[in-house]
Symmetry: C3
Subunit: 150 residues, 3 copies
């Protein structure tokens, strides 16, 4: 097992990268669930493509991501619910071009405030991560599929 970083050409898997990717998702999903739309959008590249079943068509760029996060926040407030996005089972695959492919499972839990908690959605999340000029990992492309849809 090597300890090379993902940004090197011909990068290989490393324990350090796997842990960094886990920390990245923890930070990213907590921002979303806290309703911190701008901080969440900054975990994507400027021109990121975001393709999820809850949106009628893919969003491109941070302004659209911020709008979609605010929309989700308003919908949850109106429904009297809280959602948590819980990712795991991260299959992390550095690619020859320096990007990192990550295929993971994303469970969305919903809790009715004053009521019960439940599994809301079971999803597969396929991301392309890139190391940006400031050294941070960001999502440049995300495609989410839902297990309950054909």
């Amino acid at each position: 097992m090597t300890t090379e970083t993902a940004s090197a050409p011909g990068a290989v898997w490393s324990a350090a990268l796997h842990a960094e990717v886990q920390q990245f998702y923890a930070y990213q999903m907590q921002r979303l669930d806290l309703g911190e739309a701008e901080a969440w959008a900054l975990t994507f590249t400027e021109d990121a493509v975001f393709d999820v079943p809850t949106l009628p068509e893919p969003v491109r760029g941070r302004a659209g991501l911020v709008a979609s996060a605010y929309g989700a926040r308003a919908a949850l407030a109106a429904a009297g619910e809280r959602h948590r996005h819980f990712l795991g089972m991260l299959d992390v695959r550095p690619r020859p071009d320096g990007t990192v492919g990550v295929r993971s499972y994303a469970i969305v839990y919903a809790s009715e405030i004053g009521g019960a908690s439940r599994v809301h959605r079971v999803c597969v999340c396929e991301d392309v991560l890139v190391r940006d000029a400031d050294g941070m990992l960001r999502v440049s492309a995300r495609r989410v599929t839902r297990d309950d849809l054909p």
Copy 2:
């Protein structure tokens, strides 16, 4: 990404720390779910403060933690259920004072013995971890909130 440890002054995030924190929680939660109250209590500092919604007021110190774990075990046996505490999405943040803040999601699953399994609780867990004199990480303060409560 550095490989410095969390106990150093001005500690920084490292992949090694992130993995160690994950191992810590796996060990801690498995002790609780196995009903090993004393071993579980030893994963907290001697004067730890434990503030969770299932207790009427915060517990301070290991004797109180042991009592609360035995209470939970007896309640589960009476109900004919098993619980599993599943933590994830660990946002690990070393602090300048050498402690480590960890904000995570904790899902509690319940299974009726001879019946069905379900999501019981969806929680956010905010811990302060310290590296004790023996080199082990321990919880010095825990605050848990439940998504279904106002």
Copy 3:
């Protein structure tokens, strides 16, 4: 915390091993859920013992594993469901003989295609991992218990 590898005699826990084990399970479970029976079976040693509640008796060896995976795939297709195996809370314990014991929690989510998602099973998974001649970790023994069974 050391950085020695698990295959060394008298191996000790390391952050690198913990991350490698997580990557291993992500790869393994995704193969199963994708119905890639042969690739999944290759994550077990040639003579692995696989003891799970859904099978009437333990399976030994890859041919039996492939058959069981195809059986599960056919049953899911007939039921119009998708399953996801989500492991976490990995308590990773290298042993003096060079093997690695891993006790983890495994949640199985089920989604009816065109319907709802739910928690299907809550399990404890006890594995013995070995580092094979090609340097890859593989399962040599697995024992799974279900929380809903007596």
